[in-house]
């Protein structure tokens, strides 16, 4: 009764990274199966109905659903097998063997290579340790976005957004357009967590205040949310006495960060301590040969274009594994130096171009990214942690590489 399937590349997750991986692997000529947990592929793109996607990947500005639609169409043309509403119960990474539950039945799948494209989840309210009551009316931004954009429901009448991540900023505008009153966006850092363009287009356009260095310190409401206490915070995020102010709201939307979904996908895969995602090389390979990872389960990216591009590379390399093309498993560490926060990749495989994505630890008016061992200096202006610095190092420069490479940002 358990069906036994075989495939070349198995892609787990049908968001931007997974779709791109499935597509590139399929175009390389191998058999591809994609496991999607929802009814349809697309992931969070389906509910990101705003525009601003695709400028790099498609050279055209698209909305989320349009971006997804293109990848879906291309997947259909390249006969990617999709198992929707499927749940991965167990992965044996060493043997590339997976157990899957779906309404269609229960499967085991023997693959030759696996691409993990499981994305990220939102940090839930409980993890923020905000004291007070536990009323209804508190939503992670993705849930609120899904309700409004796909389910035709409104969460409430008066909202406050906690956290200025992109999805929080987008939801501030979205709820305003749909007639809710958004009293502000509260951010505990002294700068916004999302892209500057979103601060401008989602908040400034609609006169929604952005409270930097502020946070919610108490939640009140017996049944539905009634009010929250907002306080200014100092450099250590400690509330400053005398700055507290109550906001009467029935809706609190949280945009307090994304967490790579790496759990239950194989204990033996190395996790990058800072990114909190799979530690991959520039071939998108994890610490286990033949297991690749791309997208927000590697590190939380700022643009879906980067996620899709990484998925594409992961798919290509997974296909090569299946086709037994000679690949090296050389992994030279790429080490964080000064001012470097999130950094992809964690390792360098010299045969592939090195695409670097990094987030600064703090905003910098100007600075230079330095990779001393590779003789590379990349100056930049107006760098902020919310926007990744991204550049490519040609593989020709990597050929002689033997020792770890340090990457740092100097002012």
């Amino acid at each position: 009764m358990i069906q036994q399937l075989k495939t070349g590349v198995l892609v787990i997750g049908g968001g931007a990274a997974g779709m791109a991986a499935a597509l590139s692997a399929s175009r390389a000529g191998v058999e591809v199966t994609l496991l999607e947990r929802e009814e349809k592929t697309g992931g969070v793109l389906n509910q990101c109905i705003h525009h601003g996607f695709g400028l790099q990947f498609y050279r055209q500005e698209l909305t989320g659903p349009e971006f997804a639609y293109r990848l879906q169409n291309e997947m259909a043309q390249h006969s990617v097998k999709i198992i929707s509403e499927s749940y991965v119960r167990h992965i044996d990474t060493k043997n590339k063997y997976v157990e899957v539950i779906s309404p269609e039945g229960v499967f085991t799948i023997q693959a030759k290579a696996i691409v993990l494209a499981t994305g990220a989840r939102e940090r839930p309210f409980g993890a923020l340790q905000i004291p007070g009551d536990r009323p209804a009316g508190i939503y992670v931004a993705g849930l609120a976005q899904r309700m409004v954009n796909l389910e035709n429901t409104l969460p409430g009448k008066r909202a406050l957004i906690l956290g200025s991540g992109d999805i929080g900023l987008i939801m501030a505008r979205r709820l305003t357009l749909e007639g809710m009153e958004v009293l502000g966006v509260v951010e505990r850092l002294p700068y916004a967590g999302g892209l500057t363009r979103n601060v401008v287009q989602c908040l400034e356009d609609y006169d929604i205040p952005l409270y930097l260095s502020h946070t919610v310190v108490e939640v009140r409401g017996r049944r539905r949310l009634e009010r929250v206490l907002v306080s200014e915070v100092d450099d250590n995020f400690k509330p400053i006495n005398g700055t507290q102010k109550w906001f009467d709201i029935d809706t609190l939307v949280l945009s307090a960060g994304l967490i790579p979904q790496v759990e239950d996908l194989g204990e033996n895969l190395e996790i990058d301590a800072i990114n909190k995602g799979f530690a991959v090389s520039n071939t998108c390979e994890t610490s286990v040969t033949g297991i690749f990872a791309a997208g927000n389960n590697v590190a939380v990216f700022d643009l879906v274009d980067y996620v899709a591009a990484e998925g594409w590379i992961a798919g290509q390399n997974a296909a090569q594994t299946v086709q037994d093309k000679k690949r090296t498993s050389k992994r030279i560490p790429l080490i964080r130096g000064k001012n470097v926060g999130i950094l992809v990749p964690s390792y360098i495989t010299p045969e592939e171009h090195l695409r670097v994505y990094l987030r600064l630890r703090k905003p910098m008016d100007k600075g230079t990214v330095v990779l001393k061992e590779l003789n590379i200096e990349k100056p930049f202006q107006y760098g902020v942690p919310s926007e990744m610095i991204n550049f490519v190092v040609n593989r020709d420069k990597l050929q002689e590489l033997k020792k770890p490479v340090r990457i740092e940002v100097v002012e």
């Binding site: 389906n46 400028l55 909305t63 349009e66 035709n152 749909e178």
Partner: protein, 131 residues
């Protein structure tokens, strides 16, 4: 007179400095691409935005179809156009790129569907919501 404008053409978010010169022209700096120059001028004289939202679908597998304007519309008219959009509905099926409202702003801008909606329901659909 001078002012900073944050360019939103692309995610880079250039801080563009606009300085008005005595001859009535503007000196523009800080943009890393030519599009930024045009943006800064537009933003000063007639700010425009792409509007994205949803339109009600009748007899579809989902209740809403996401839409966008096919060109930027005047920022000051966003709420006026939202009212118009709230009042309309379309019959399923809908395809990506379908023009749902032609010339919605009187300036030649159309409202275009950005997702596909099939007819009828899926297992979790058909939940009514009180109005």
């Amino acid at each position: 007179m001078k002012g900073h404008i944050t360019c939103t053409v692309c995610p880079v978010g250039c801080k563009i400095l606009v300085v008005s010169k005595p001859n009535g022209e503007y000196e523009i700096s800080g943009n890393r691409c030519p599009r930024g120059k045009q943006y800064a001028i537009d933003e000063l004289f007639s700010p425009k935005r792409i509007l994205t939202t949803s339109v009600k679908v009748l007899h579809g597998d989902v209740p809403l179809v996401s839409v966008r304007t096919d060109a930027p519309i005047e920022k000051s008219r966003i709420f006026e156009l939202m009212e118009k959009i709230k009042s309309i509905s379309v019959e399923a099926p809908v395809n990506v790129g379908d023009v749902l409202v032609r010339n919605i702003d009187g300036m030649g801008t159309s409202l275009v569907a950005t997702r596909k909606v099939e007819k009828n329901g899926s297992p979790l659909e058909n939940c009514q919501i009180s109005g």
